[in-house]
């Protein structure tokens, strides 16, 4: 438990530290305000597209597929750590679980879910 407390403190301290560096930077760098400079970036024009006007559905699809696959892979971690202790049934069970994953994966592939185009 103590180790995890230290991990928490390291996280909090590093976040504070980074934030403090950011504040120091804002303090010592002087900003000259300019309307052109503060508009959204565009190559020499005025910005001609509303930002966040939508993005491709494919990124969303990749995100959803990532969640499914990652949960499945997360299930494998306990199996892999305890492999020496779970006996024959455990090992074979894990392999059967992976084969079931393979069925879903082949289904995704055949449906064209993991094609980028």
């Amino acid at each position: 438990m103590r180790e995890y407390e230290i991990l928490l403190i390291v996280g909090v301290v590093s976040m504070l530290l980074v934030r403090i560096i950011w504040e120091i930077w804002e303090l010592i760098s002087k900003e000259k305000k300019d309307r052109e400079k503060e508009s959204a970036y565009e190559c020499g024009f005025n910005p001609f597209m509303e930002e966040r006007s939508g993005y491709e559905i494919r990124y969303y699809k990749v995100g959803i597929m990532y969640i499914i696959m990652d949960v499945e892979i997360s299930y494998m971690y306990p199996w892999s750590i305890g492999m020496g202790e779970i006996g024959r049934e455990g090992v074979i069970g894990g392999i059967i679980f992976m084969l079931i994953l393979l069925i879903g994966y082949v289904y995704e592939w055949k449906k064209g879910g993991i094609e980028w185009e």
Binding site: E3, S14, V18, I21, E38, M49, Y59, V62, E117
Partner: protein
């Protein structure tokens, strides 16, 4: 009460002991990168500041620190600030679970490698928050690209780490190094080790998978609206991640601190410097993949073969009784 204060003091002091060498390593990695790339193109690279350009990273850092930060008027204040902060913070936090010598680790937990994986997965947030918060169409596209790439290769990283956990018989990284005393994991994992290299390149957004960069169409990807230290924090976070990834690779794959004549931290230093050099070497020689090729490699090859190798190595090691408890 006294116990809590002790924990806080220990955490803060370990943080500082970790932070300063990390900053120096990142600074001199940037100098080394510029020098090596210069050498590959028959130039000299930076050689003016102090002797042979030793002072260049410090000069660059100071310049970033006093540089004006232009915050776009449309940017979401909170998210705009959070992006670089999260990236750099997670890059520092990742160091806390990785041992760099026998017993030389900040938190020695039983699930070290899984903790490291989960801290690495959170790194996607820094990129997406920054890209989304700066409200430019280019940065949004760059952030989404980068996010999609990092999550796709996260899966490949997951299956590789499962193989390593099976070989080591534990999630504790020190234990994984002990197991490699005779044979490095790189030889046990030989069929998939090239895919592992691809995965570590893609996870850190480096050539040939540096699509978020995309100078031609997206100018610099997710950090196009950042200047000064905001950019500097992204930069430090990314390079910190590269060095961390090299250290992890040398620990879990290349035998860590085991060595006959020279062992310990020096050995890890030599191995991870070799891997960092490989990163730069690949950047100097290879060209970039297309986005659909990247997705094909990630989803159809790395996950498939990596997952297959989990079954193979699990079955073989278990049946010859090689799985340690």
């Amino acid at each position: 009460m006294r116990k809590e204060i002790m924990v806080i003091i220990e955490g803060v002091s370990k943080e500082i002991v970790m932070l300063i060498p990390m900053l120096i390593a990142v600074a001199y990695m940037t100098l080394g990168e510029r020098k090596i790339l210069g050498g590959m193109q028959r130039r000299r690279g930076p050689n003016k500041v102090w002797i042979v350009g030793i002072g260049q990273p410090i000069a660059d850092g100071l310049k970033l620190m006093i540089k004006e930060g232009v915050k776009p008027t449309r940017a979401e204040g909170m998210m705009y600030k959070a992006g670089p902060v999260v990236t750099w913070m997670l890059s520092m936090l990742g160091w806390s679970v990785v041992p760099i010598g026998e017993g030389k680790v900040i938190v020695d937990i039983e699930v070290g490698i899984i903790a490291w994986m989960s801290i690495g997965s959170l790194g996607v947030y820094g990129v997406i928050i920054g890209g989304w918060g700066s409200s430019s169409q280019y940065s949004i596209m760059g952030g989404l690209r980068s996010g999609a790439q990092m999550v796709s290769y996260e899966l490949g990283m997951g299956v590789m780490m499962i193989c390593i956990i099976i070989i080591g018989g534990s999630g504790n990284i020190s234990r994984i190094v002990e197991v490699q005393e005779g044979v490095w994991n790189i030889s046990v994992m030989m069929p998939v080790v090239v895919m592992y290299l691809q995965v570590i390149l893609a996870e850190t957004n480096r050539t040939p998978y540096d699509l978020p960069e995309a100078e031609a169409e997206l100018v610099a990807g997710y950090n196009v609206e950042y200047g000064g230290m905001g950019f500097g924090m992204y930069f430090l976070g990314e390079y910190g991640n590269i060095i961390l990834m090299s250290v992890v690779t040398s620990v879990v794959m290349m035998g860590g601190w085991n060595g006959k004549y020279i062992g310990g931290e020096i050995m890890i230093g030599i191995k991870s410097t070799m891997i960092v050099y490989m990163y730069i070497w690949i950047r100097g020689t290879w060209c970039r993949y297309r986005y659909d090729q990247l997705m094909r490699i990630g989803w159809k090859e790395v996950i498939l073969y990596g997952g297959g190798y989990v079954i193979i190595i699990g079955g073989v090691l278990w049946s010859i009784g090689g799985v340690s408890i």
